[in-house]
Every structure is written in structure tokens, then in C-alpha cells.
């Protein structure tokens, strides 16, 4: 069973190689967000570094924004059963404020749309997401 870190890294590697998303991320740099999962899943930090997504384990103390949410919420966004911007409804900001969050989380738009695309087109990614969703939902 893949961890949230492994799922997010796997998807990010696909997005980082995708010409369409490479073009969109060309000017993005320096946005760092940590994801503190409520359901016994280790935290993950996502960063934009010179137009590429970097996904690391743990909570980066240098992150501008920290979000606390159930892993299932992010997985719902990835499989497109939850609208990405509705994620805020199920998220507690543990670092930064809503203004900072809107600014920095928006930099993840290509990553999120990329996750959604590859959930539909990459069988391995879909399987990782579906299995994890069953696990965290207790299914």
C-alpha cells in the first residue's frame, strides 16, 4: 500500500514530465505548502522549485502555508469527486492565513489538474489512489 507521500511523488513525477504542465509551471517558484493529514498518514510538503514540483516527507518549517485535512479529501480531489477549491471547506489552516493560502495553493493548480488527468490515464496512479482511499475510508 503506497503512502500519501509515495502517491503524491508518483503523480508529481508524471506532471513534471508533461509538456503541457511544464509550460504552465514555467514561472512558478518558491511556493511551499505542507499537508498535515488527520488520519494517521505522515505529513507531506509540496514545493514549486523553478517550475517543477518537489514532494517531500514531513512538514517543511519554511512552508508559507500549512493545511490540516483528511487524506481522503485530497484523494477525493485527485479522483475528481470533490471540486479542488472546495478543499478549503474541509481544511484547517495551521500555518498562514486564507490570503496566503489562496496565493500559494493556487500555484498547485497544474499539479492538481495533472493529478486528475493522470488518475484517468495512468492505471498505476489510479490504483494507488483508489487503494489508499479505501484504506483511509476504512473500506
Amino acid at each position: 500500500m503506497a503512502s500519501m507521500l509515495e502517491i503524491m511523488q508518483y503523480g508529481a513525477e508524471l506532471v513534471n514530465k508533461d509538456e503541457e504542465f511544464i509550460a504552465q509551471m514555467a514561472e512558478l517558484d518558491g511556493d511551499s505548502i505542507f499537508w498535515r493529514f488527520e488520519d494517521d498518514q505522515p505529513a507531506v510538503t509540496t514545493k514549486l522549485v523553478k517550475g517543477q514540483n518537489v514532494v517531500e516527507g514531513g512538514e517543511d518549517p519554511g512552508a508559507q502555508v500549512g493545511m490540516k485535512l483528511k487524506a481522503k479529501v485530497l484523494l477525493d480531489v485527485i479522483d475528481n469527486s470533490l471540486e479542488a477549491k472546495m478543499m478549503y471547506t474541509y481544511t484547517e489552516l495551521v500555518k498562514g492565513d486564507i490570503e496566503l493560502a489562496r496565493h500559494h495553493v493556487f500555484a498547485l493548480t497544474p499539479l492538481i489538474f495533472g493529478y486528475q488527468d493522470y488518475y484517468e490515464s495512468d492505471e498505476q496512479f489510479k490504483q494507488m489512489v483508489d487503494e489508499k482511499k479505501k484504506q483511509v475510508a476504512g473500506g
Binding site: 509550460a23 504552465q24 514555467a26 514561472e27 489562496r102 496565493h103 493556487f106 489538474f113
Partner: protein
Amino acid sequence: MSEIITDLGFDSKSLWQPKGFEPHPYPESTWPCLKELGLKRLAEIEGEDLTVLQDGVKKPMAVGAFRHFYNDKIEKLAHMWVLISRSIAGGMWMGWPNDDYDFPVLVLAWEESKKRLHIIIDVMPIVDVVEYEWYREKYLDGIEPVYNEYKDLIGSPSTYRWFRAQAGPYLIFDGPSMQRDRALQCEVEYMKYWVKTVQESEPVTDEQYRQYANKRKRTIMAQLRQRDPLGSVMLRTLGPELGRKCCIGYT
């Protein structure tokens, strides 16, 4: 040569193509409603040159164009038609009275993607409609039959308390992902209603009320400029300079 603008200059397909779906014909469905207003091109607001937005924007995460108009009653009427991250078609109309008039603000938003549609449809009062109940009766209650016809489009309320506080009693917000044709028709009907209120409006004569209405209008504008999430999206996708111009253009 007349200064009246008769052609919007683009349609839903001429500026960009989204990935995986065809957006509804938002610009060409809404624009014809406005033709009787005799709109003129607004090239500058608050010292900011808007023509760079009107010429079209092309950034890695956003492509599209903006239009800004005015006439003898309208201070500014802004239109946006952009594609965000190749996946979200963003349409918007926002229209404000000038300081001699008090008709409501036109607030129309259209955010369409392959799987979702998010809408905001309102004629937003610029005064307190409890204190000035006649304003609601004069400017807002006429939309009630349209509201009743389309109120099934209403979904979850906005998560922004400041926005809920500004909204009018006939706000239609969110929800209709599978009813896109009806949602677009509702936007058109609200726009037609707003055009009628503009045409029928008369200059405000009560100086005390005028000062109150304009002060409250400026407060609404300032709150939108500071807090509207569209503003932060535009700042992020277009960069600080163009993003600021975009915000000034519609708030």
C-alpha cells in the same frame, strides 16, 4: 465615427480552446443584451491603462481578454473571458452605477470546466434594503419571477462571509454542473433585467441619500478589491501589474 462599441471583438471560441470540453457560448450569449446601452470603451480607470488587458493576455496559466465600458449612467462595466490552466473557462460581467445613480450592481460569474460549473448571478444592491425597502421594491423585486424560475440552480452558499453580507436577496450561487444551458439562460435573464433597470434609472436627487449610497458602494468595491478570490487568481496568473489592473477594472 461613433464611439459606441457594437462588437465585442471575440466569442467563446476565438481566443482559446480548453482541454477536454467545449465551453458554453458565454460572451456571445450575454453581449447582445447590452447593445441598447450605447456603451463606450473605457481605456483608463484610476490612472491605470486598461488597454493592455483589452489587447489580450497570454501567460503560462492564463490566456484571454478583457473589456471595459461606460456610458452616462454606468461608471464601469467589465467583462472577462479567460482560460485558466487550460482547464477552467472563466467568464465575468460586473457593472457599477456612476455616482449620480443608484441602480444595483450587475454581478455575473461563469466558471466552467469539464466536470463542473460554478456561477454567481446577482443584482447587488448598493444600499441597505431593510433601511431602504423602497430600493428593493424599485430595483430588485422585479427579478423575482426569474429567480423563482431558476432558483433550483442554487447550490451550497459561498464560504466567504463578507460576500454573503454583500449579496442581494435574489442571489443565485453555484451548483448547476449538469444544468449548464439553464444556468447560462439565467445569466442572460438577469443581465436583461439589469439593462432595463439602468435604462429606467433617474439621477439621484436627495443629496444625503446620494452621499450614503456612494459611500456604501465604494465600501463594497474596496472589499471586493481586497478579498475577492478572483483577484488573487488574476494576480497570480497575470502577475502583479496586469493582475492589479484586472482588479481595478471590475471593482
